[in-house]
Amino acid sequence: MSGGGERVLALLPELLLLLGAVGGLLLGLWTPQHRQWRVRLLVTAACLASAIAAAVALFEPAERVFEGTWVVDTTTGVVRIVVALGVAVLVWLASASLAGHPRETEAYVLMLLGGLGSIALAASGDLLLLVAGYLLASVPLYALAGFAKDSAGVEATMKYYLMGAFVGVLMLVGVAALVLAAGTTGYLDLAALLPEASPALLAVGVLGVLAGVAFKAGAVPVHFWVPDVTAGTTPPMAAYITTIPKIGAVAAAFRLLAELFAGVPLDVPLLVAVIAAVSMTLGNLAAFSQTDVLRLLAYSTVSQVGYLFMVVAVAARTDLAVPALAVYLAGYAVTNIGAFAAVAATPAARTITDWATAVGRHRWLVVSLAVCLLGLVGTPPTAVFIGKLAVFVAAWDGDLIWLVVVAAINTVASLFYYLRWIAPAFAGIPAAPSAGEGAPGSGPRTAAGTAQRLQRHPVIILHMAAVVSLLLGLGAGMWVGVATSGT
């Protein structure tokens, strides 16, 4: 509505990311192969600048720019910050395996563009922008999934691409149905017109659009790609694919439920609640038997989306939903990146036992892993605990008590497989039990041989994630208050 050109600055965070992408590409062209770390720095700087700009924008009142297609509010703001910081961290996580790679620059640029797509999803206030965001958050990821060009990666890409293309068409059908029903694409107009539309068209529209965001979020029933792609690609890319697009997609789903479908005569919240319940249950059950850490984490992300969709279901029903979404999104991003960083630290170790062996006596690594994994369970005082608490409260307040109970039971179930990973890692510490006490000075820092096998950046990122997860949890009051003060 505020069509004035000066409001272009409302998209400053996105512009900075775009500039970073274009600038990174150009810089990469002019930089020799072994100096491509310059691109990394540039990309990181762009992300940080974008995050700062987004943080500043948080304090301004919510608004809709560009004819209402782009919504700038708390949800968008939180997604902007989390995605920008997440991409910055993931670029460094990926650098361990990408440094010196012939297509290093391209990877970073694609990561930035995918992040931009994720933000576009979250910010879209118009169905056409939602579709554009879907594509922008998908296409770069197809390339990233198969970046290693090995057979597993190619297979992963194929699955991901075919599934994405199929769901993309479904989504377009859904959008077409909604446009047919109401004759417009803007959320606000649609929200006013849809309640009178024909229920059949509405149903097709709702299902199609939800399928699209559920696919990007990795929720049941379009979650099949998640384990295959996660296990087929490299750990850093798996971290990226299971974190960045999910954040945007969940925020997009949240906005759909809060605005577009709030008044329709169908029980959309119930549908989303069922998706949430099934996602968390299936994800947890499937994770039980996994011995491959990446597949375990993949199913864990499916179950996490279930918890996130709980708050989506009650988006229109309670004031507590927005803070809950903000906390959980941020907590999930940090914790999930941390867990994948643990895998990336030991690229050769793919099973739980291998991992425990490779980490050996690095007790701080195990401690950080435990903080991250128990964080995913929702053990206090980590960020995801606060998120879960907020989500449970919001869901209950939105009259979905049964979903809260299902989620609580699922939380317990999830303990099984996270502990299956923590326990051997923890027990792996006493590589030399009481015999090692013979030489008191020879503490646990002597395992130089194992230390070399660990990748440096992922280890740092794992520790950072654990610390940030704790800080976000302990300082929840402060930052949630600040983040949601704009509304």
């Binding site: 606060i386 907020a390 449970f392 409260v393 609580a408 303990l415 326990a423 027990a427």
Partner: protein, 532 residues
């Protein structure tokens, strides 16, 4: 501020231990002992300066050392801690028992840094739970105590430790989630939408909706019952206890179980008075079943530690009997209900001291012979008189002999509960008889008769093993003549850890006023709140 220091001092020490791996192994436990000792001294200072507030209602007002900071303003959860007559004895108990465990573990050979750090972490979690006046804060500390204990059992236990630890974690985690669901119910049901216990107790939520109130109480009760543990949910306890290291069992039984019973007094009763009154009989019945079940199953055990573990179920049953009786407003006068409540709270402290001592003593058996089986031991009074004396004292205290704290506690529970629930109380008294029998039987099997010591203890587990790491390299003690009749008596650090617990139990048995003066005002307040 002082209370915050008390809570987080152990955590700080734990951080130091983990961050500075250069501290030699022995000194690591030394740091633990020092930190616990300082913490206990601070708790002692707190109790000395403790002044219950006006009107002696320790729950709604009259809090000492209160700190109230905002934490998550969107749901009005805060860092709200304080001390009153309910929490002070348990804070002191925590301090005492953790110090005893630290002293007991002085020779812990296996990864002492991490071990000490975990226990210090646990201590913070326990102190924090007892001091919390905010439901979310309570939950945070409550859950952290589970995490800490999981690692203690999984990392330092024996036998089927990994499995027992997992079982423990799953059971109690289910419990804690039920608790969380209940807390959310309280939050959404309260008028001003807060997690603050003081505010909730002052203006109880869900007062006019019996169904919702009952369901929320069910969720909270389930959560606390798993932790306590009460009858159908106690199955994690014997496994966890048997496979945990001695100090872990002592803390688990002495402190962690109290988190459950404390939750009943602190949360369920004052915040849901209507529901508690309505369902008090259920609490009484569950309490009595736990009393009998714990006693009879303990009687059937062939393993010392499992037997002690089951007597914990029995003892916690008395606590619930007392608390349930306190809710039977219609059938008992206030005087009787106060007596029952005081008895229940006295039992918490008493059980912590006596069971803590018993578990540490059973740890002595493990360190000598690597078995808890009754039929492998016998006639220990001759080779190990100090051990025998301590074990006998702890057993007599635990069966409720006059002169010990347990007697005061059980006597008050029965006196108070008799009027409200006469049948149940009379049935529960049978529990005393059975426990008396089983403890006497245990004494007889372990201490009397011909001396028998497990002979084929594998050589690499001789308890002198830790001596190897003496800087001067004395290895002579490592070669132990593996004869069948050798049983080393308690060593200095073992005596220093067990005897104070027993002395305290005797003091509380002979001079109960010390503790009663603190407990009674708080119990009056609780009973008054429940009676609303």
């Amino acid at each position: 501020m002082l209370l915050t220091v008390v809570i987080f001092l152990p955590l700080l020490a734990a951080g130091v231990l983990l961050a500075v791996p250069r501290i030699p192994s022995r000194a690591a436990i030394g740091v633990w002992v020092a930190a616990s000792a300082v913490d206990l001294a601070l708790v002692g200072w707190m109790s000395w300066r403790f002044e219950p507030g006006e009107g002696a209602s320790g729950v709604v007002d009259g809090l000492a050392y209160e700190v109230n900071l905002q934490w998550i303003p969107t749901v009005d959860a805060g860092y709200h801690v304080g001390v009153d007559g309910l929490s002070l004895p348990l804070l002191a108990l925590t301090g005492v028992l953790f110090l005893a465990c630290a002293i007991y573990s002085l020779r812990e050979p296996d990864r002492p840094h991490t071990y000490a750090a975990l226990f210090l972490f646990l201590q913070t979690a326990c102190l924090g739970t007892f001091a919390s006046l905010d439901l979310i804060l309570f939950f945070v500390f409550f859950d952290l105590s589970i995490v800490g204990m999981y690692f203690v059992i999984a990392g330092w236990g024996h036998g089927n430790a990994r499995r027992s630890a997992l079982k423990f974690f799953l059971y109690t985690f289910i419990g804690s989630l039920a608790l969380l669901v209940g807390f959310i119910g309280l939050f959404l049901g309260s008028e001003e939408r807060t997690f603050d216990m003081v505010a909730l107790a002052a203006n109880p939520p869900l007062a006019d909706s019996p169904v919702a109130g009952g369901l929320v109480l069910l969720a909270i009760g389930l959560g606390l019952a798993v932790k306590t543990p009460l009858f159908p949910f106690h199955t994690w306890l014997p496994d966890a206890h048997t496979d945990a290291p001695a100090a872990g069992s002592a803390v688990l039984a002495g402190i962690l179980l109290k988190l459950g019973t404390y939750g009943f007094v602190r949360i369920a009763m004052p915040i849901l008075p209507d529901a508690w009154q309505r369902w008090a009989m259920v609490a009484v019945v569950v309490g009595v079943i736990s009393v009998l079940w714990g006693a009879f199953v303990a009687l059937a055990q062939t393993d010392v530690k499992r037997m002690i573990a089951y007597t914990s179920v029995n003892h916690m049953g008395y606590v619930l009997l007392g608390l349930g009786a306190a809710g039977l407003v219609a059938s008992a006068d206030e005087e009787a209900r106060i007596v029952a409540t005081v008895g229940a709270m006295y039992q918490m402290v008493s059980h912590g001291l006596l069971t803590g001592a018993l578990f540490l003593l059973s740890g002595v058996l493990w360190s000598r012979g690597h078995t808890y089986a009754f039929d492998r031991w016998g006639g220990l009074a001759r080779p190990a008189p100090v051990f025998a004396a301590c074990f006998a004292v702890a057993a007599f205290g635990s069966l409720g002999l006059p002169g010990f704290s347990g007697f005061i506690a059980e006597f008050q529970v029965f006196t108070g509960a008799l009027q409200a629930a006469p049948v149940a109380t009379v049935i529960a008294v049978i529990g005393i008889l059975v426990t008396a029998g089983l403890f006497l039987l245990a004494l007889q099997r372990l201490l009397a008769g011909d001396t028998a010591v497990p002979s084929e203890a594998d050589p690499d587990t001789t308890e002198e093993g830790p001596d190897l790491d003496r800087p001067d390299g004395t290895t002579a003690t490592a070669i132990r003549p593996r004869t069948a009749t050798r049983m080393q008596d308690l060593r200095g650090h073992e005596v220093a850890s067990v005897v104070p617990l027993l002395v305290l139990a005797v003091i509380l048995g002979l001079v109960p006023r010390v503790l009663l003066d603190v407990l009674e005002p708080a119990a009056m307040a609780v009973v008054e709140l429940v009676g609303r």
